[in-house]
């Protein structure tokens, strides 16, 4: 039987790059999707609002694990070839789109009504109104909660372990099955996640405090 040594530690640590890669995909895709969702939620077009609201309701109202299962087991049914990479990436992108979309909708709606009206009075087009007036101001208040949400994304990637994607948690399971030393193995796994997430949490909290003091001035 193997015991937990440096080689085992390295195996888990190396899997962190897959956690980070998956998180990066989820964040990049979620940012694009989230912007679409946020714009859809505040759109003047009723059916767009309806679609965006339904999307958010479904993806915030069901477990991420089930979304992962539906894509992983559903895609072959639809005749698509799928591997854990694609399934985990797609599920995380859709899920983060819904959550980031809601966060950003709140930020967009926090921009005073007068700004919208002024942009309209200047006869700016929809694109210019959003790009030049509303979004730059919303961006400022959106950064702290967005950084905070990155922590949720990194933690969410752990679920990919369940469909067999070898990131940190799955690597921990593999090592645990070989060494039967769950205390140290899952301790190390938790520690790696903590090292990845804690700085982001601290950064988000710091940004939030600075923004709050800037706004109260």
């Amino acid at each position: 039987m193997r015991t937990f040594g440096f080689a085992e530690f390295l195996f888990i640590l190396e899997a962190a790059k897959w956690t980070l890669a998956l998180s990066a995909i989820a964040f990049a895709g979620g940012a694009v999707g989230g912007l679409l969702v946020a714009l859809g939620r505040v759109s003047p077009v009723a059916w767009l609002r309806g679609v965006a609201t339904a999307f958010v309701q479904v993806f915030q109202g069901t477990p991420l694990l089930l979304q992962l299962f539906l894509i992983f087991f559903g895609a072959p049914v639809l005749g698509l070839d799928i591997n854990p990479w694609v399934a985990a990436g797609a599920a995380l992108v859709l899920n983060s789109s819904a959550f980031l979309g809601e966060i950003w909708r709140g930020c967009i709606q926090a921009i005073p009504r007068g700004q919208w009206e002024a942009a309209e009075a200047l006869n700016l087009s929809y694109v210019s109104r959003m790009r030049d007036v509303v979004l730059p101001q919303a961006w400022k208040i959106a950064v702290p909660p967005t950084v905070g949400f990155m922590v949720q994304i990194i933690k969410g990637t752990s679920l990919a372990a369940i469909i067999g994607f070898t990131e940190i948690t799955r690597a921990g399971q593999i090592i645990n099955n070989a060494t039967f030393q769950p205390l140290i193995v899952f301790g190390v796994v938790a520690a790696i996640y903590f090292v990845l997430c804690w700085p982001l949490s601290l950064l988000a909290a710091r940004m939030e405090r600075r923004l709050a003091s800037a706004l109260s001035r």
Binding site: G61, A161, A190, W198
Partner: protein
């Protein structure tokens, strides 16, 4: 696509699905009540406790909030038994959920207590109210009202993340789905139905929380 959906096997198993749904509801409610208890104690310790206690509570909160629930679950289910603790998947799952919720809810409750203006507590003191009377008549209602949305959405998140406990087969709704899946091979149909049940549960939970709010905390205030 030439796939025929067959929901027959799924709906034939409705007693099992119902039982799994009930287990998920029960686990979530138990975790909410116990987790809230943990959180109230920790929030009190964090605002009024001695330094080492405050440090310990902070460490607990940061540790839980910066690691995935799945890893916490593995820790409770695999690591603690290695130290000699014997428990069922169900108890391990409940413990993991309580510990997880406790950390998130502590921060929420602390924010609620801090949202009460100092002047109101001083006014209570000036009226010669006792400490518990101030807590009961001055602090608790407006504090609960302030944090109610954050707290209840945390509850719903907890209910949804309880799907993860199926990996240690804690007989919840997702475990039932996984078992059915291996017996009938109708995985897509099963997961669609189960996802719909979760969606209905989260809608039902938020309707329930709204009812509770209207019955207990809905009073006019000046703004």
């Amino acid at each position: 696509m030439n796939y025929t959906f067959q929901f027959g096997d799924v709906f034939a198993a409705w007693p099992l699905l119902l039982k799994g749904t009930w287990t998920t509801i029960e686990l979530s409610f138990m975790a909410m009540v116990l987790g809230l208890g943990v959180a109230v104690l920790c929030a009190w310790g964090k605002t009024a406790g001695p330094r080492p206690l405050r440090f310990a509570i902070n460490a607990y909160i940061e540790l839980i909030r910066n690691t995935p629930f799945l890893v916490q679950l593995f820790f409770f289910f695999f690591a603690l038994p290695a130290l000699g603790l014997r428990w069922t998947p169900h108890t391990a799952a409940l413990t993991a959920m309580v510990v997880n919720l406790g950390a998130y809810a502590t921060e929420i409750i602390r924010a609620g207590i801090e949202s009460i203006p100092k002047g109101q507590i001083e006014a209570g003191l000036a009226l010669n109210l006792k400490r518990w009377e101030i807590f009961r008549f001055v602090i608790i209602k407006p504090a609960l009202r302030a944090i109610y949305p954050a707290l209840t959405s945390q509850f719903i998140l907890l209910m949804l993340s309880s799907a993860v406990v199926s990996v240690i087969s804690a007989d919840d709704l997702t475990s039932v789905a996984a078992n059915l899946q291996s017996q009938t091979f109708r995985s897509f149909e099963i997961y669609i139905v189960v996802a719909a049940i979760y969606l209905a549960l989260s809608l039902a939970f938020s309707a329930f929380f709204k009812l509770v709010f209207n019955a207990t905390l809905n009073y006019p205030d000046r703004k």
